[in-house]
């Protein structure tokens, strides 16, 4: 039911600058360490040995100098391939990150920030990056318009059904419980609750806004940002309030995913009473249930009508094609 918002990506640890120019001392140091010292960017020992074994059989047949030149050429080729692979990998990461911000990416940006002086190989680099994105992540690199050289990533994985979306993580259990407590408070207070009331209730449970909680993380962020952004809660300033106060109400997603009756039931259980103990809220919940039932019936009816229309269309089509 609950989804975490996208977390911000890695803070930049190197100064801004284009790939091939404008490197400051720090980035140079890092670049140097990448190309020379970092064991991860060099061949792993296994690969290296394997490579040497490849060269071995060829050597005895040639004069020593010829063998050395061949070996040098082979290793230069390998280095070029590795460099190409690295650039492809960088481009994949670049595209993933750019897409996260939902901004289209231009080919010139790719060249400027990633491809650099391997510009001539751009088409191959981009094609390989696209293949990785498709195969590994399930994204398609789609060009917007033939001339523009602007791209976006499209998710090729099948879209989630409504029930599937609910279970899409977020630390379900505890955070869901916290949300329901807040929804309950809001409902019992007449469909809106002052921010101070919400924090007061949570304080009594040992939850403080900015104190790290082992179940909820930072409650203030979870409630004020996550829940609001995900539309589980709505937050607004109470008009004409002085000093200005803010209030919470159910967000549109809460209205879709949970019912007043369910929340009332939860509150009732908490107080070891029956839902009918609160006649006003109970009546309201009953009315809400009736509304939902009507909406569901309408939706089902229109689905059936559409299915019938489709079947009729198909029948007339095949009738046209059939030989008799």
């Amino acid at each position: 039911m609950l989804q975490k918002p996208e977390s911000g990506a890695l803070p930049i640890l190197r100064a801004e600058g284009e790939k091939d120019g404008g490197r400051d001392g720090e980035t140079q140091a890092l670049a140097a360490s990448q190309e020379a010292a970092s064991p991860l960017l060099q061949e792993t020992p296994g690969e290296h040995l394997g490579a040497r074994r490849e060269e071995g059989p060829a050597e005895p047949a040639l004069a020593p100098r010829g063998a050395r030149t061949l070996a040098a050429k082979a290793s230069a080729r390998r280095r070029a391939y590795r460099r190409l692979d690295r650039t492809v990998a960088e481009l994949v990461q670049f595209l993933l990150v750019k897409d996260k911000k939902k901004s289209p990416i231009t080919r010139s940006e790719m060249v400027k920030y990633v491809i650099g002086d391997q510009k001539d190989l751009s088409p191959e680099i981009i094609a390989r990056a696209a293949e990785h994105l498709r195969h590994v992540f399930g994204f398609e690199l789609k060009q917007l318009g033939r001339k523009q050289h602007t791209y976006i990533l499209i998710n090729k994985l099948k879209p989630l059904e409504e029930e599937e979306e609910e279970e899409d993580l977020g630390g379900g259990g505890p955070r869901l419980g916290l949300l329901i407590m807040i929804l309950g408070l809001i409902y019992m207070k007449g469909n809106s609750a002052r921010e101070t009331q919400v924090w007061e209730m949570l304080r009594r449970l040992g939850v403080r806004p900015s104190k790290y909680h082992f179940l909820f993380g930072y409650p203030k962020r979870l409630i004020m940002e996550d829940f609001v952004q995900q539309r589980y809660l709505s937050y607004r300033q109470v008009p004409h309030s002085n000093p200005p106060e803010c209030e919470f109400s159910w967000g549109p997603r809460s209205n879709l995913e949970i019912s007043k009756m369910k929340v009332l039931g939860f509150v009732a259980k908490l107080h070891k009473k029956e839902p009918q103990h609160w006649p006003v809220q109970y009546r309201e919940a009953l009315a809400d249930e009736a509304d939902r039932a009507r909406a569901k019936a309408r939706a089902e009816a229109s689905m059936r009508a559409r299915a019938r229309a489709r079947a009729r269309a198909r029948a007339t089509e095949t009738a046209g094609i059939s030989p008799w």
């Binding site: 930049i12 990461q93 195969h135 899409d168 009594r204 790290y212």
Partner: protein, 277 residues
Amino acid sequence: MISNHITAPSHMQGGTRRAGVMTDVHRRFLQLLMTHGVLEEWDVRRLQKHCYRVHDRTAAVEELEDFINNINSVLESLYIEIKKGATEDDGRPVYALVNLATTSVSKMASDFAENELDLFRKALELIIDSETGFASSTNILNLVDQLKGKKMRKKEAEQVLQKFVQNKWLIEKEGEFTLHSRAILEMEQYIRETYPDAVKICNICHSLLIQGQSCETCGIRMHLPCVAKYFQSNSEPRCPHCNDYWPHEIPEVFDPEKEREASTSKANRKSLRSRQH
């Protein structure tokens, strides 16, 4: 639902290693893990089950470790991997998708402005240099004048620090900041390369150490969860290096089962206490 059983074309595979099989189950898993940045193990298991439910209901859920190793073998040629770590304070296992090579692309990978990144860098340096692994808000904010890029006021810097906390790069405890496990997972290599003299290493697991306990005699350091495991059921804990008596309280080993039980009773106990005042 027909799964996509396609192995990577041979020109995609790094070296001679055979890459694993990628299906939509794995792809969905990767997409969601990327969205969340870092996840605790129990969240990861739920995520894995969710992906199976969505894309391949009939298949048996693969053992998490194998599942992740399979994906990592495919990620290898992209210089990224799903890395497992642990929170430094109580040893909860966490997972994140990390870059194996800190490349210049990282600088694009950010939602932060130049001065904000520099603030992070300053905080990082203070944290690494500190004895406790924590840098005070005051000390960090005193460095705002030295930041690269647009001038930042202290008030603004306070909010940027909160942004780092919200995005799980820093953790705040009582006005002091330390690295989130996400930052440690993602940046360990960068930190070890950039601050080779100041960096602290755990004597037991040999990984980067930000918070931990240290021997007062010989100075070696250990992560709290490493201490817990090493001295488990040892009534006379002694330094593994100099054999001197280990003077600190030995924490408990993280037990996921106990943790879930404790969560309910802890909440009750806390509310009782607050009512008594």
